[in-house]
Assembly symmetry: C2
Amino acid sequence: MAEFDEPIERLIEYFRQLPSVGKKTAQRYAFYIIENSKEKADNFAKAIMEVKEKVKLCSVCGNYSTSEVCPICQKRNRQIVCVVQEPKDIIAMEKVKTFEGVYHVLFGTISPLENRGPNDIKIKELLARISKDGVKEVIMATNPDVEGDATAMYISKLLKPLGVKVTRLAQGISMGSDIEFADEVTLEKALEQRQEI
Amino acid sequence: MAEFDEPIERLIEYFRQLPSVGKKTAQRYAFYIIENSKEKADNFAKAIMEVKEKVKLCSVCGNYSTSEVCPICQKRNRQIVCVVQEPKDIIAMEKVKTFEGVYHVLFGTISPLENRGPNDIKIKELLARISKDGVKEVIMATNPDVEGDATAMYISKLLKPLGVKVTRLAQGISMGSDIEFADEVTLEKALEQRQEI
């Protein structure tokens, strides 16, 4: 026997599919919907459908966008391209207000273990932009892990012969963190990439 | 400038209204919707709307129900009524598989501080059920705090003259908890309500 009536169970099930939402949390979300006005629920539902209707991928960089070309690609310097794994990484990078270039989303990394090769991510599209936009610098902002590093290296080797400067985000200790608690890999990177002051 | 395009911002805003959801979590939920299929999003939206259309309050006890009278009220012994503050408390109580009675939802407590008197919660409706269903016992399962206790006492005083047995859930140390960490009020209650073994 289901614990709740069918429509409630179904809503709980959908909430459970959201990232890191367990049964209890999903129940609380469902009850929030039940306890609030029909108008609010209808607007919530509409917002979910609308996002799927209106939000597409920018045809240049792959960022989420409601227009064919996203506002970043429309306005900023296309000769500097920051390469990220996922659209949400752009949001993180955009907190750095000083970056004036544009982005390129790979939609993943090269990963031999998971059978993803160079053709499974948007590397061809990146190469096409190099000549088309006269790209001068590509900043690799893939994650600082084995796959992110390998992908950055692979792309770097492709681009250097084309005369493009390829850089990688510095790896080191986080601002505000504590050296005492830093892991050894991070400390090693921080030492390797030490800066003269 | 909004950080995201309008439809994304709106969806994040709706997710933020869910209980204990902050900006970061709401963003992750919104991205989940964006990254998954349109079909899934549409079904999610439909589930939200459907719950508001189909789920009403049981006309007898106030529990959430898709029928005029909820399955519990339809099938179980109406002479034993467990009184709770909110419909979600019924879910918690229903984990106790041995309870064979029915429920009554007060939709709140008496709270002089928040200007809620006896007429602001479903006490009249409870009284009506006493004679109608020939209720023999009322189990007060309001929360073990000042307002829950006061509400239980108030209802108990109303019902006793009618010859109804009124009981209250026992208060004491939780199963599996540690006496070392129990607070003094809980320990005092546990001592007061100690049972011969």
